[in-house]
Symmetry: C2
Subunit: 423 residues, 2 copies
């Protein structure tokens, strides 16, 4: 199906045929949901022995009684796990509570209210802004929006953010004080940043405002579907380029063990850690160390964590294959949609023809298939082209996903044809 070369008669014939198919599907009264990147129950069950694992022994290897108060940095054994995941020194890692999003929120607060490492607090700037590779993660954008931090779109490419654009923006506007990145299996396009992109990102600290910080949300660091994809180490690059203070890294076990009850990590330079901890110490006496100990007992070696991730991959891989097959079958030989083929992570995203995404999401919803709202992958919920749709294959069982994708591709076709007829 090629819209651009179709005649009006052809479009009308398609519209009629697709509408009829759509009407039939609507009668099935489906109730399917592919909105959020939640692990499925089968995946969660992989870690069910977490509870009870301590067997009455609440002492960490270093003698800490994990049951009591204290220890802002988290347990050493948990920090080591974070260091393994992010490939950074343990001394630069804080192990926190159940959410890396919360760590990111607090890190943004630190910059906003107090400034990092002696730099101007962002709230004292006229118009502080973050660079936002788009499409991106809605919860990143929500943090900026809540605090009134401006957002500037940077297009995502197949190798990461458009670095010409990012460098240009940072050079021209010294009020750009942050940037969101999901560097591996990017949310939602699934892309992993390549060597050149990471290198150029690590040099932004040399041209940007000294208070500029990259929020490196490495949510899918070990979430490969098959062979391991190598993400270049940004810390190493910043050490080489003298910009260690320009990056804060985040990870968690949310999509490793139990999504709501994991351990989150932040890694940063000594100067940044000092700033983070100054803010933290008014807010908490310390994280849940018992849960950190559980995680460390479940995975005493990093190799065990990696083996565990293979079990997730075995469950997720067929779901990604299903989504990709539907897209391939429906759109490979068409001008209806473009997508990347993720080798890990939690999402596939489709770019429809301009002006179609909202219509697709609406059609799917009416047919009983819930999708992430169109626009959610852009700051302020505004997709300037109205074309990006995020697909989250992880949560529903395979058969449901298969049905949902059949409906989805049909909705894309129908919306595209209708859109073409209107223009």
């Amino acid at each position: 199906m090629r819209i651009d070369s179709a005649t009006r008669d052809q479009l009308q014939a398609w519209e009629k045929e697709l509408s009829a198919q759509y009407e039939r599907i609507c009668q099935h009264e489906l109730n399917l949901d592919i909105t959020r990147g939640k692990p499925s129950a089968v995946q969660l069950s992989l870690s069910d022995k977490l509870d009870g694992l301590l067997n009455g022994d609440y002492r960490a290897g270093d003698g800490t009684d994990t049951r009591n108060y204290g220890g802002l940095d988290g347990l050493i054994c948990a920090r080591e796990m974070g260091a393994d995941i992010l490939q950074v020194p343990t001394s630069e890692v804080i192990a926190g509570g159940n959410s890396s999003l919360t760590l990111m929120y607090h890190a943004v607060l630190t910059g906003y209210l107090f400034g990092f490492a002696g730099n101007t607090p962002w709230r004292e700037m006229k118009e502080p802004k973050f660079l936002c590779p788009v499409p991106g993660y809605d919860r990143h954008f929500a943090i900026c929006e809540q605090l009134g931090i401006g957002m500037v779109n940077v297009p995502m490419t197949a190798t990461g953010p458009d670095m010409d654009a990012a460098e240009q923006l940072v050079k021209e506007d010294q009020e750009i004080i942050g940037m969101w990145c999901v560097p591996k299996f990017s949310n939602p396009t699934g892309v992993t940043y390549d060597e050149e992109t990471v290198e150029r990102l690590s040099r932004l600290g040399n041209i940007a405002n000294p208070g500029f910080r990259i929020f490196w949300d490495n949510a899918y660091a070990i979430h490969d579907l098959g062979q391991q994809v190598n993400l270049p180490n940004i810390r190493t690059a910043t050490v080489e380029n003298g910009t260690v203070d320009s990056v804060l890294q985040f990870a968690s076990t949310s999509k490793v063990t139990h999504a709501g009850s994991g351990v989150a990590f932040v890694s940063a330079s000594p100067a940044n850690l000092a700033s983070l901890k100054e803010q933290m110490q008014a807010m908490t006496i310390g994280p849940d160390k018992v849960n950190q100990l559980r995680h460390s007992r479940l995975f005493p070696e990093f190799s065990m964590l990696k083996d565990h991730m293979k079990k997730h991959a075995d469950i997720l891989q067929p779901k990604f294959a299903c989504v990709l097959k539907h897209l391939e079958d429906a759109f490979a030989d068409s001008d209806l949609g473009k997508w990347e083929t993720p080798k890990g992570g939690y999402f596939v995203s489709l770019d429809t023809r301009p002006g179609c995404a909202k219509a697709v999401v609406k059609l799917a919803a009416d047919a009983g298939v819930k999708l992430t709202p169109a626009g959610a992958t852009f700051p302020y919920g505004k997709d300037p082209e109205d074309c990006n749709i995020r697909i989250a294959p992880s949560f529903p069982p395979l058969e449901e996903l298969d049905t949902a994708m059949s409906v989805f591709v049909l909705c894309v076709k129908l919306a595209s044809v209708r859109n073409a007829l209107q223009s």
Copy 2:
């Protein structure tokens, strides 16, 4: 020992004798710590069956899979526990993570950055301030200090804050937008607010700035040492006085189960809850529901929670008795110190003669007994009379506490006599 009626010769004789005793004690090279209100290992062990309690069943009573993301309010069964502790409706409770301090920090942030229930954000005011009953809890004051919120001292009495002073201040200064309260077994004096105090507090909302909020940190709601002490219900009082939006209540299981791994609660009016949740939803996908479920399984009935607290009381009561006996024996018939007799909570506090507290803490430290720094119980660490010292009896074993208290009372005597000789 009565300093005021002693002659200079008498003082000198005492100084000589006490100094000799002190020198002897210093030779013991003690290493004792009565600084922080941490439960002892024996208390923590009361809840050791928490881990493993779920027995592979991670579903809450309402069907929620606690392992996955979601649910900003926390599990219903956890919220019910918070409602029982605070004696408020479940619908007004959010069950959070492992720290009520963190909930308080975020609640202050909500007021500061965004304002509660449509009121002016505190940061937009010229000089926003909190009333701080003193002596009080250092971590409350640290939150205000970090955000640059001013603090105004209000003296504590044996029945709660001096309400004449509080009312006067709130009436005169409409930039007073908050007040810290530890209403039951107050930190550090151990006092419980009486009926009249709670009633008058509940009416502050009618004379203060509409954005004024009382932070009701009911940390010791169920932490009675013997017979239950009744704290009048402030929610009931605010309902009667039309000031439901003026109070936010906090509690946690930190001193019920495992101190670092409990569940914290905030209770507030619907308008305040909406404000809190608006802030929260950019910060988190939800609390650790698995841990909430553990707590709910440990205490399916409130009566079981109360029975559990009796076991804590059995451990703590002899420690409080030890502290009080030392104070009684040393100072009952003297003008060296004043104190309240707490019927619960985690602290005893002593008011020395003016100008002696720092000297006592220094003497004790040099003799190997660590006390909370003098001044810590006041905003900015400044005790205007330099007289209040907080004693935390819970953590050390009884024999160590006994030794520490012997040293402590000796240091109080010595510092008092030396102070009198210098003036």
